[in-house]
């Protein structure tokens, strides 16, 4: 088992950089998730860790050892691909046995280890079958078995669940977490699905355009995003954003936007006056009766059973989305008033997207 360290990892294709100066320290045994939109460089980073792509600059360290120039096969890593990459011309047994046979492991030991691992991931009954005959979940587990049997120093996973249907995906997520707990190995997991990242990670690494935006435990990334992009990436429904400006208002700092004005409990000098974006999550939008707050009309309702999503038209360019209790009596066209939880307001610079006023 080993930790992984990335130092200034860069991958350039001509003038453009798929990965730009990525540095990251992953301690042994951590479950790290690289998350971000397509093309953000997460898969390229993973490939560089595996040695499938050579970095233009920077280094990769596994277990303290510099492996940047090593061939993939010498790095002792287990990797699961999005397409699972099971060898179609081999049986399940041969697929799992492959890494062992390459290393000329004696047949008796091969048999023993393959069967043991097959038991662990519950594919023991499938050993004689061909990959084409397996279901999505079964193929998934065979791919896992193939990596586990190698006893690698760390596990790399490139969107392994994206080809599964929703229910199976949720099941496999739990299975992977259990596996991680049992093996106590380092997991580097790549996905574009923020829910997956939130549920599985010890720490999340948010990437965009080849650059790390933020690193932290899920709740930190969720509640304390470092910029506009990270804030908007997590949470379903996504965070509400209101474009406006911060300016001085009688010695205090105030945020003004169409239909919404908030005087903050901060001195006017806290930040220079500027365009700013207010961010507030749907669960922090409260509906009020009577006075207080701002007026709005209910535009759309999405009852989900455990909560109801409410779209409020308040005069601004987009609706404000709120989450309310499913028992709340509300209908489209209702006139209500809404307010934000004071302590949960986030402000971002209007030009750079950086978080201000923390």
């Amino acid at each position: 088992m080993a930790g992984i360290r990335l130092a200034g990892l860069t991958k350039a294709f001509g003038a453009s950089r798929a990965v730009d100066g990525v540095s990251l320290d992953i301690p042994d045994g951590e479950f790290v998730v690289l998350v971000g939109p397509s093309g953000c460089g997460k898969t390229t980073t993973l490939n560089m860790i595996a040695g499938l792509e050579a970095p233009t600059a920077g280094d990769v360290y596994i277990g303290g050892e510099r492996v940047t120039d090593q061939e993939p096969r010498d790095r002792q890593l287990g990797m699961v691909f999005q397409s699972l990459a099971l060898f179609p011309h081999m049986s399940v047994f041969d697929n799992i046995a492959f890494p062992l046979r390459i290393r000329k492991t004696p047949p008796a030991e091969v048999r023993a280890r393959v069967e043991a691992v097959a038991e662990t991931v519950r594919v023991a009954l499938l050993l004689g079958k061909r990959p084409a005959t397996l279901s999505g979940g079964e193929a998934q587990r065979v791919a896992l078995a193939r990596t586990i049997v190698m006893r690698p120093r760390a596990f790399l996973m490139d969107e392994p669940l994206s080809s599964l249907d929703a229910r199976l995906r949720v099941e496999m997520r739990t299975e992977l977490k259990r596996l991680h707990a049992a093996l106590r190995a380092t997991f580097v997991y790549v996905t574009h699905d923020q829910a997956e990242a939130m549920t599985m990670a010890d720490r999340i690494v948010v990437m965009q355009c080849g650059v790390i935006q933020q690193v932290g435990p899920p709740l930190a990334v969720y509640a304390d995003p470092v910029n506009h992009f990270v804030a908007g990436f997590f949470g379903v429904p996504p965070m509400n954003f209101v474009d406006g400006a911060l300016a001085a208002d009688a010695g205090r700092l105030a945020f003004r936007a169409a239909g919404v004005t908030i005087v903050l409990d901060r001195p006017a000098e806290a930040v220079t006056a500027r365009d700013a974006v207010l961010g507030v999550r749907p669960e922090h939008v409260r509906l009020r009766d009577g006075t207080g707050g701002w007026p709005a009309t209910v535009g759309l309702l999405e009852p989900l059973g455990d909560e109801t999503i409410v779209f409020l038209d308040y005069g601004g360019p987009t609706s404000i989305v709120a989450k309310v209790d499913p028992d709340e009596k509300i209908a489209v066209g209702d006139h209500r008033r809404f307010m934000f939880d004071r302590g949960k307001l986030l402000f971002f610079d209007g030009t750079t997207g950086e978080r201000i006023l923390r």
């Binding site: 490939n47 595996a50 040695g51 499938l52 061939e71 993939p72 096969r73 790095r75 890593l77 287990g78 990797m79 691909f81 999005q82 397409s83 990459a85 060898f87 179609p88 011309h89 492959f98 890494p99 390459i102 290393r103 193939r146 190698m150 790399l156």
Partner: protein, 286 residues
């Protein structure tokens, strides 16, 4: 529905017509091969030999070399058969090995530039006659004239374009992630080739081999230029005989035609399905 019946009728009529066109020459060749010399040219033509005989085959298949005597030529096919077999097989094997490796290298790494397969195709577009003349002089100086090596080398070069294009189609069908997975699991690049790429492209390799084999087996012009007596493939033998023989020896020639053709046709059927894919030149969808 009467319409359906009509369509089926027209379809079968057209297909049968072409079937006749296709099979008649083939039948005639087989037919003639079993006739003795009196029956070769008759009017009306004998569609079935009245006195079938195996003497043509007997003559052609017994050992000995083709004799060009005044008045009597005796056509022999054993040596030409061997020469054709050897040159076609050797050149096909080498061409397939080299060409597939090349196709893989280009498909995975882009070696040679993005236009390489196209520029390689120009080899094939060149009429062999263009190089026939200097090649003669060239080979004479190198003592390669009329040798197996000389002919095989040229055949390899002319086969490569087809090998590359056909194998490209098959190689591109192997998902790259399979190779990546194998590499991470500890396979060297060579091992990846043998354990992953090779098994998954076997049908393509076989089809390409057989296709190139047929191509070289049938080749006339270059063989005519570069070989004569030491090496004498079947097409050359047929041609030599044709040009020397005034009163044509239809029977033995038909026998040779049959012997030369049937094995190749059999091979062709085996690879029928795979030819389809290999001939896609990367342009057909799956």
């Amino acid at each position: 529905m009467k319409r359906r019946w009509l369509v089926a009728f027209v379809r079968h009529a057209a297909l049968l017509a072409w079937t006749a066109v296709t099979l008649i020459p083939v039948y005639w060749m087989l037919n003639t091969s079993f006739k003795h010399s009196g029956e070769w040219v008759t009017w009306p033509p004998h569609w079935v030999p009245e006195q079938p005989t195996l003497e043509n085959y007997a003559q052609v298949l017994t050992p000995g070399s083709t004799i060009f005597d005044l008045g009597r030529q005796t056509l022999k096919v054993l040596k030409p058969l061997w020469d054709s077999l050897f040159t076609a097989t050797a050149s096909a094997l080498v061409a397939v090995a080299l060409g597939s490796a090349l196709a893989y290298s280009w498909a995975r790494f882009g070696t040679g530039g993005k236009n390489y397969p196209y520029s390689v195709l120009t080899i094939r577009m060149l009429p062999p006659i263009v190089i026939a003349v200097p090649f003669l002089v060239y080979y004479v100086s190198l003592h390669l004239l009329d040798t197996y090596t000389g002919l095989i080398l040229v055949y390899i070069a002319t086969s490569l374009p087809y090998v590359i294009w056909m194998m490209l189609a098959f190689i591109e069908d192997v998902p790259r992630e399979l190779e990546s997975a194998a590499r991470v699991m500890g396979a060297s690049r060579f091992r990846v080739l043998s354990s992953v790429v090779l098994p998954l492209t076997v049908s393509g390799l076989v089809a390409t081999f057989l296709f190139v084999f047929i191509l070289n087996w049938s080749e006339l012009l270059l063989a005519l230029t570069l070989t004569n007596t030491q090496v004498s493939t079947i097409p050359i033998t047929l041609n030599k005989f044709q040009s020397v023989n005034e009163g044509r020896d239809y029977g033995p020639q038909a026998a040779i035609g049959a012997i030369a053709t049937l094995p190749v046709v059999a091979l062709g059927f085996l690879i029928q399905k795979h030819l389809v894919k290999g001939f896609s030149f990367g342009l057909l969808r799956k």
